[in-house]
Amino acid sequence: MKEPLRLKLLKDVLWALALSALVVGVGRFIFGLAAATNMTDLLPWGLWKILNMIAGAAVATSGFIIAAVVYILNLEKYKKVARFSILIGFLGYGSSLFSLLFDIGLPHRGWHPFFMWNPHSFLFEVFWCVSIYWSITALEIIPLITERFRIPKITHLLHEYMLPFIVLGVTLSTMHHSSLGSLFMASPTRLHPLWFSLWIPMEFLISAMGAGMATIVLLMIIFNWLYKRENDMVVLRRIASVSAVFLFLYLALKSADLTYFNKWNFVFGPEYTWESTLFQLEIALQVIFPLVIFSIPQLRKNMGLLIFGCLSAFVGLGMHRINTGIVGYFSSTNSVYIPSLSEFVLSFGIMAATTLVFMVLVEKFYVFEEPEHIEGSKIHEAKVEYWSLTEAKSFFSGPRLKRVLLTVVIIIPLTAFSLRQQATGPYKPDTRLVERAPIAMDTMRTWLRIDANRNGDMVYFPHEKHMDKVKKQFSIEKEQTCQKCHHLNAPKDHNSSCRVCHKDMKIPTPIFNLENHRDRFDTEQKYDEFMAYNLDIPKENYQACSMCHEENMDGLIEYKAKGFSHVAPGFEDAMHGLCLTCHRQIEEKPEDPDGKGNCRFCHKLNPVDLVELMKPDEPEGEQPAEPIKLVD
């Protein structure tokens, strides 16, 4: 049997999408969600949940309505559509649940809700309803298989005892559709008021019913076109007109909601935002266009308009779900979520795989009608016999395989590229434990805490002030100062010594004269080395000041021992810690005539006058190279 071109092309596209989804799916499990998705902490529900699960469930809703109509209201006319729509329900929910396996963080724990209960949770209700409903749809489509393989006993048995299951399925459907809406009631302050409402469960249920029926018409038309079957226009138009009733109900409910909660302001009035435009568009697509087309018989008869109406309802329904689940959260969280390429690929890939499965079922099983509708003699001719080995062989060899291989070669590298950070590999946080406080914990602080002697003794460092000071003093750009060496995004910069910043620490200042301290250096060579300290040496070779000058840092430790705090709250304490210890020691010696331990030794007068007054105190002979100006 030769496949027509449209089927061939469609299947190739679907295969390509499904295979790319496979790559993304594997990548997601290896590298984690961050590599595959753009979800953030503020917008934790992304495309896979909202589009595949919540919008997918809404689209696949037709199954339960048609089941209710056919098996409970006994309207035989729609029996032709029943099997098709129940199968869509089964596959739609199956693919939704399958995509959830990629979305939730720990899919191997998917069985947890069966045993760990929280009846207060709406998600718990959704989980139970959906899993039971899915099992029931599976039960409902068993006749499809038993008929195909001619096991009339089971077929008969199922027909006999199907009613309670169908009732249960329909009930659970209404329950989980409304619960899917109530999921979003949990965020009243974050979801935009246009989509948030305390009536959202009813809105979800009714909109799913209205647009779900439009979707079944659309899918029916598409598959009839694909397989060149006749459209049963009477049934389709009938479904469309019933859909119009529900669409009207939804419109009425939404208007009542807007009135009751006084939200018309958001739609037209003074609180108009970009969300209002989106909302108007959504309502127009989901309700207004289809409602007009479906409710006027003259328009309904026009095939093009009917398709447009169904398509519009379908798109509008998806838009409503995405707006409720994703877009409505943008303005309150001040963030935007645009799904990554890999999210799109996996989303549509799973849908494509589902469609492929559906097409296989359509081709090999009696999907469009139950066998009794085919005239007796044609039953065996209508379908190919059991799958034979040769058929399986032809499926896996020949032109199909070639096309698939081609897509594998082209699509897989493309898809793998869509995984974010693919070039550099996924981001891996530094797993070393933080043993000492990092120099800068965060980048947005005015004050940083710097580990002064790498013993956990901290110095408060007014970052912005210092930046300004350095800028003024050397008239250079911000990027060329401190940030040049240790940019703040290096949060664990333990290796930089104090001297990286404080290279002028021991350069003569109005208070401090290095020449006076020349004898503190063991040798002249060390003094020269100190003066010529080269900051260009590799970062790994940096040493903290205290590595050599333990005695100088005593002050800070002493300060700590006194029990005030082990925090040096500023420059003052740092300098006191550095100088005062030595000065006090010298003071105790008898040969100290100046009283070096006295505060007045350094703080002779207020600092402004010090600049002038220090000069006479300079030791005779050598003048310091150039006193550095202090800028406050």
């Binding site: 969600l33 902490d41 965020s187 302050t189 974050r190 939200k263």
Partner: protein
């Protein structure tokens, strides 16, 4: 409502953060990091602006002060609500409200659906997206946080006493005392006293910090059409809908069975009528 709950939890403890005292040194963050042995955080570009992430349970956020050029630092962390939204929405009940006031997270139950993050009104729950085996990250305020003296690692680390740990009742009293003594400085509102049903982490401040801690003011709640959240918790708001579910189940199932039953009855009646007619006609035929 929150008062009633406190009666049930007399041991409830909490944290009071005084924004006017915070200097933004992040010692609380450091204390938390050391206590829980958290790894280095990921770079800013992957994080939310507030600094909380899958590896940071608390953070400091900078916000404009009362005068231009001035800044205030606000400590962000889980609010440990009295009636916690996360505990109510989690489908495997991985969140528990404990007698000591904390809301704890049980990683062994979690399936990673992230509904708690959607449900948290303060967006204080974070996720380890980069981890192939990810968990939820959130301030614990429990036994694992304690250092010597039974205090928390974060509050003991604070050098200025801006954030303190203690029984919720006495913290509330202290907060009100501070506001009373300095009415010109403070805004007359203890953030978290009644908001969202009351929280165990409370704030007092001299600048409005609603936007920083995502706790909408009464006016904003009015604009969002949920004004009752100034004193009600979200689970309370939605409580009615949880009850509706079983009612819906029995109502829908019952009515469907009812329809079926009526159909069968009317069919039987018809059949009986037909039978009667047939019998009658038979009799009539026989009679003729």
């Amino acid at each position: 409502m929150s008062d009633k709950k406190n009666v049930n939890r007399p041991m409830a403890k909490g944290i009071l953060t005084d924004v006017t005292k915070c200097i933004g040194c992040e010692r609380c963050v450091e204390g938390c990091v050391r206590q829980h042995k958290l790894p280095a955080d990921y770079p800013m570009k992957f994080k939310a602006d507030d600094g909380l992430s899958g590896y940071r349970y608390t953070s400091i956020v900078k916000t404009p002060g009362p005068k231009p050029g001035e800044w205030r630092m606000v400590r962000r962390q889980c609010m440990h609500c009295e009636d916690a939204s996360c505990a109510s929405v989690c489908l495997v009940s991985a969140f528990d409200k404990n007698p000591d006031g904390s809301v704890s997270y049980n990683a062994d139950k979690c399936i990673g659906c992230r509904y708690c993050m959607l449900g948290c009104p303060f967006s204080n729950i974070r996720y380890q997206y980069d981890n192939p085996i990810p968990f939820v990250a959130k301030c614990k305020m429990g036994e694992e946080c304690r250092v010597e003296g039974g205090m928390l690692a974060c509050t003991t680390a604070c050098p200025t006493g801006a954030t303190v740990y203690g029984p919720r009742e006495s913290l509330l009293k202290e907060a009100k005392r501070r506001i009373k003594e300095n009415p010109d400085l403070y805004i007359d509102h203890v953030y978290g006293e009644h908001d969202f049903g009351g929280t165990n982490v409370m704030y007092i401040s001299d600048v409005p910090i609603e936007d920083v801690i995502n706790m909408p003011s009464a006016k904003e709640l009015e604009a969002m059409r949920v004004p009752s959240l100034t004193h009600k918790s979200i689970p309370e708001l939605l409580h009615a809908w949880v009850i509706v579910t079983p009612i819906q189940f029995f109502a829908v199932a019952g009515s469907l069975f009812g329809i079926k039953f009526l159909q069968r009855r009317s069919r039987l009646m018809k059949e009986r009528a037909l039978e009667k007619q047939a019998n009658l006609s038979n009799k009539n035929e026989g009679g003729e």
